[in-house]
Symmetry: C5
Subunit: 376 residues, 5 copies
């Protein structure tokens, strides 16, 4: 199962920016360029940065070295040797970076293809001397109530971790900080533990996103109860879509982490498996919560619907009360507005006041009836 | 797999009180302090008590000793020796207690982290010479119709049981009473049986909570049938959320107890497994009932909805009857109120009474029609 | 795994009658008396009879003996010896009966506790020299449209069957009749076949209950179609709850019978397993039907809802037709009822008849329009 | 596991015709006569024919013989010998036929009981030297839109196939035709292949039923879109019940065929298993389609509902437009119909035409407003 | 398990065009001609082309040959020898083509029957020296918003791939292009890799279909929010049916690919399995997305429903406001239009203006009340 290197067949084309419809966001995959072979290295994402940013951290228990690189080739000397090397690649549009890594370390072309197409489902794949993990970093934009997903790909061997992502900006500052502070737990362990630490940071961030979504849902619940405008419905609907985005990122991660902590990936030590079991538990919690949020959103929709029908009811009641009181009264007024020559009542002295009293009594009776029915 | 002690890297920080949104209550986990390593011992819960309360019960078949401790270290001599020692820790904010236990008995840091973050899912984890069980104590607040969950963590070895919880107040008085009375079944058995007895007390309490929730649901059903106000809908919606809280506590417990009674935890004797099978059955019953309550709540919502539309129908019927009878009558009254010079009917002697009779006939016909349609 | 006899620790307390809320009926379990140990023998049901009724049938291929007993101890001599002994205990409030059986035949305390608390889920549990089966007898009360469940517990060993239930009245008369008639199939076989025959009678009775519920549902469907009153909705809702009760009795029984026919219980002969497979099939049919009834009930609710909205539509149409015809006419009548000095039409000779014709034309046009729209 | 022959204990009673409620049709099982033992041979179906019809086909590669029998015993000589014998029994009410077969070929009493009660779920059961397959023949009655199920029971051994059904009329004419034409594939193979061919014919017929149901659904969809009358709703509801009947026939068949093609039944040759795998695939297709039809029916109900509410909306709009235009106009007409002595407008020369113009303007403004809101 | 050749028994009949109802499209299978044996080769599809088109590509690492064939027999010399031969058959109505292939290469009759009936579920079946894969090519027709499925059947052995489809027009141009360009990855590998490449092209095309459906859904969502006309509902309903068509094509493909990449088909090399795992992942993504689209469609229906009820509410509010303001005013106007002789107000000098002021005040109060209730 030694994969053939992509060789001449591979075209390292730059992709232009593509528009992103909702379904693309949900599918997370653009069709490949027609005519390209599977395993062809090309970036199928839409974002383009000025320059790929390369950051290297090389450490063991005694020392740590941190630098920005100009060329990915500068990292190879570090990565080939025992102290743990972490190379963080921000920007995927320059496929020559990925190609160089793939060629130097014999990374499987299908693995690199996955790295470059930023709409993969989370997964772990084991190759002979390295493994690939794909997870999704999520962030919640409070302006648009949208969750955006950023793919993080980790290529891990006994000597290095390459982490790839499309845009700069990540959730790893705490990990870097712990590396710098020389904490023995992370500095004394291998790349598998580093990979765990990065995934742990990603999953930790999910909770933050969940809290933000949850806060928004609470707002919408209040709005649905107090002021059931159609916009509330639209926002609930929109948020449902966002929770779908979240689910799609998290569900496959559960299985991925399960494979990792159960020892199906040979490069992960037993000790790290114990920690991965912990992230797995957190991931299950995230899934639980996402499912709960969906139910709460459905509940909010029910609230909105019943709020709307409640308001409708009130409108109907007011209409009914007014119409039911005044329509009969108007009839009697109309009756004595008729111009028949022989209407004996018209000449009666107290007819008018008596009619007024009768009308007041009728209206009062109506009101009493409505009160008894609980309509007023 | 000998876990490294948290050592210098661990910061035993006090946490300030954090606000608790609905989602937090449902997620049951706050994000860790940025920059902290996994396995760092810190209390991530929100409650703070004046002082951690430590209660020790040390017993075997012959004798029992019960005391309050000032320092956790006082318990260590008891816990290290054969007679069964139960140390109940109320309050988690002083992490030095947990740290001392962890260091003295080699409890795994990840286990202690779980103990201190009070939003874990129920689970059991086996370590070399002890195991950790996490369950949720539930209580129902009749004022606010809310279920609150309190995490109970048990660290169990062949000599001791450490039980940790955030707040004082538990459901264990019956267990203590049985210990004091010297019942042979509990006094003659090991810490695994004690752990079983504590979990059994917790699960028994679930039934009480279920009954309280069920009573509330019955009230709401009656209200939905008799007086479908919007508040009924809001309360049903609220209670649905509470049942979600309950489910989240109970579903994972089932699996946990399954692992325990099937002998996956070496420290649990076969005899105790038989009893755990019994709690497992009760737990399944609780889940069954929780699911049933959810269905009943959905049914109550249907009841409310149909009650609302029924009321709406009645309103509409009254409006229709009144309007349909009087609008035509008013028209005829208006007709003879016109001021045309040549309206021969106006001069007819019996026109007015005849019109009155015609109107009465028309109204009577309408009433008859409505009765036949079943509207009156 | 030799269970300790309940000994002095066990309190054989009488329980007072407890009220039974819906949730209790659905949960089927009252919380134990605080302070009682697990495995304590106490009756947690609510019913109380004057006297426990004990009926013994002792038979083999040649002979059969049937008698009523005063004391449970009178049965022990029979039960200890080879001919098959069936002791039927009606009434659980006198726990001394259960205690005596437990002590004499070494029945496990947890098993006896299950027998005495009449809200267990159906299950089978194997002990060393006997096994326990718990099933539910159901009956449908046509007055209140309610299904009531009565727990039947069978303790079966190679020599005897003890059957326990709370109230007198069972579905076993056919079995007794076959025993009396000396049918070789039942008389020539062991207690395991007798247990099968009893369970078969119970499951057969489920079909009767299903038919009764089904008949009621058909009535409700007709009512929902023809006369969608709110009471129909309430009865559908009520029946849904009853089907939940039925499900809770039947679902766990399936698994129970599965364990029994697959040979997981050593005391059941291969031949009897074949018959149990048959009951298992019937049980699956019952579950199927119960699920179908639930769907049919949901369908009936949809029928009701659409019937209601259909009726509402008709009401609205009548209102609209009447109002739409007469409101414009009334306007024109009002127009010529105005008192302006200069209204030339008023003096025109044929104005009044012409107006009448115009009004009739307008009304006729409206009617034509409504007919075309299909509203009349 | 040698089952005891039913012997004297068995009563071969004729059953009278029983009424068939919906639930019976869905449950497909009447409770047995009280007091009858399991395994008792009695016909529990409802249909009764004048005479049981017996048709025998005896064939091998060289010859074929086809005849009608008067007595089932005439078939036994054929069935006991190698050339394949197919005996088709139409009519189950004369249980002596079944009894004779059971006694002659040692068919298990439970198997014969299943054959005679025509409401079994599809299943296959293996006995020592024969096996029993139960499947459902379905037919769709276009008059009543009802699916009726007819039970087909096959008793298959290496020498014979006995096929039992309640009523004459089957889907096997093509199979008989192929037998007569001497096709080597069917004539050269054993009874297991014949059983396969019969089941294949039954499953093939399901597709016809599905197409008929599907056509009906399409009609209902059109009706729901174009003319959402309450009858459409009732018919959709009815058809939902029919699809439930279909599902209950097909779901268990899948498992049955799975057991058969996976080689769990020893009498089925590997070659025939390959063909059974093919029927299995068709059965899965039927299930798929039945599930799809259910979804389409739910969709049709949504269509109906939205059609109804759409029509309601139109009614409301017309009412609103008419009322909203004329009610204010009538007010102004009424205003100038008042009889105050001092109303200066009344004497103004152009007041009346000006008022008419104002009224027309007001009405025009209303119409413009309604058009802008999209209500007209 | 050596299948008998179809021989004389097989009739190679042409089928006439059959109408295709919705259910046929969803079921994807017409009943066979009555009387035909299973495994009979006949084309059960509905399309008919002038002439079957046969295209052959024969290649290895060094050379490639591409030609159109007149007779299928011309391909046999190529297909029997080592260089990989791909024969693409467009058009299934001339069954002699399929018969020739089946006879020459010993393809199993059941396999050929599947190839010819274009409504099979996707599946893979292994025969002794070849295997059969059935997948569905989908295309979306933007005019009618319909997804049409075209069956692609691949018969693969170590020397050849025969691909069958009903109509010309496929998604394989990129594959042919890569073959022509001499890319080593595809030219250097066997027919199993070619089969993979074809399936990959098919699955890639699914994403295009998903995007088109997704775009349509977005349009419908906007329409449901902005202009909830009944046509929007009808189109949503229609699209739901189309997504069902898509699901039926994709769900079984997942299992099919799973069998292929897990090595259950002996003719697939380990290297190709790795690539198939990749298609499998894409297929899972397609399923995920299809499920998501269904949820989004349900959401769109909710949007439509709430849009409709929102519009209804607005209509009701306008009606209520107008009626509630003017009906009381009209009553007062009518009151002073009465013709009683003794109505003292009528003679009062300022009565008329005062009444006008009172009316304006009443109307203003109403408006103020409606504003406070949020109705205006």
């Amino acid at each position: 199962m030694t994969p053939e290197p992509p060789a001449t067949e591979t075209t390292f084309a730059r992709m232009t920016e593509l528009p992103r419809s909702m379904v693309t966001r949900l599918v997370g995959r653009m069709s490949k360029r027609p005519g390209s072979a599977p395993g062809t290295l090309q970036h199928t994402g839409r974002r383009k940065m000025e320059k790929v940013r390369l950051r290297l951290i090389d450490y063991d228990n005694e020392s740590i070295q941190e630098r920005e690189l100009d060329r990915i080739e500068d990292a190879f000397a570090y990565a080939a040797e025992p102290p743990v090397t972490w190379v963080n690649v921000d920007g995927l549009h320059d496929v020559s970076v990925a190609q160089a890594v793939a060629e130097r370390f014999g990374v499987h072309p299908l693995a690199m293809e996955d790295v470059l197409s930023p709409t993969q489902r989370p997964k772990v794949e084991d190759y002979d001397d390295h493994f690939l993990v794909i997870v999704k970093m999520l962030s919640f934009d409070g302006e648009t109530d949208s969750i955006s997903a950023e793919q993080l790909s980790l290529v891990v061997s006994p000597n290095y971790v390459f982490s790839f992502q499309e845009r700069p900006g990540d959730v790893f500052e705490p990990v870097r900080e712990r590396l710098r502070q020389g904490r023995p737990r992370i500095r004394g362990r291998g790349p598998d533990y580093l990979a765990y630490a990065l995934i742990d940071a990603v999953v930790d961030n999910y909770f933050k996103v969940l809290e933000q979504v949850g806060d928004r849902i609470e707002e919408l619940e209040s709005a649905a109860m107090e002021d059931p405008e159609i916009e509330v419905m639209h926002r609930i609907h929109h948020l449902k879509g966002e929770v779908l985005v979240l689910r799609r990122a998290v569900w496959p991660l559960r299985e991925t982490l399960g494979q990792m902590y159960r020892g199906e990936i040979p490069h992960i030590s037993e000790e790290t498996q114990l920690f991965l079991r912990d992230v797995y538990d957190h991931c299950v919690q995230v899934i639980d919560t996402a499912e709960t949020l969906r139910e709460v959103l459905s509940g909010a929709m029910d609230l909105y619907m019943s709020g709307v029908s409640n308001r409708m009811n009130e409108v109907m009641k007011v209409l009914t009360i007014i119409a039911t009181i005044f329509i009969p009264l108007s009839f009697f007024a109309g009756l004595y507005g008729m111009n028949f020559e022989y209407m004996p009542e018209l000449g009666v002295r107290w007819a008018y006041p008596m009619l007024l009293v009768a009308m007041a009594t009728l209206a009062g009776g109506m009101v009493w009836y409505f009160r008894r029915r609980g309509w007023m």
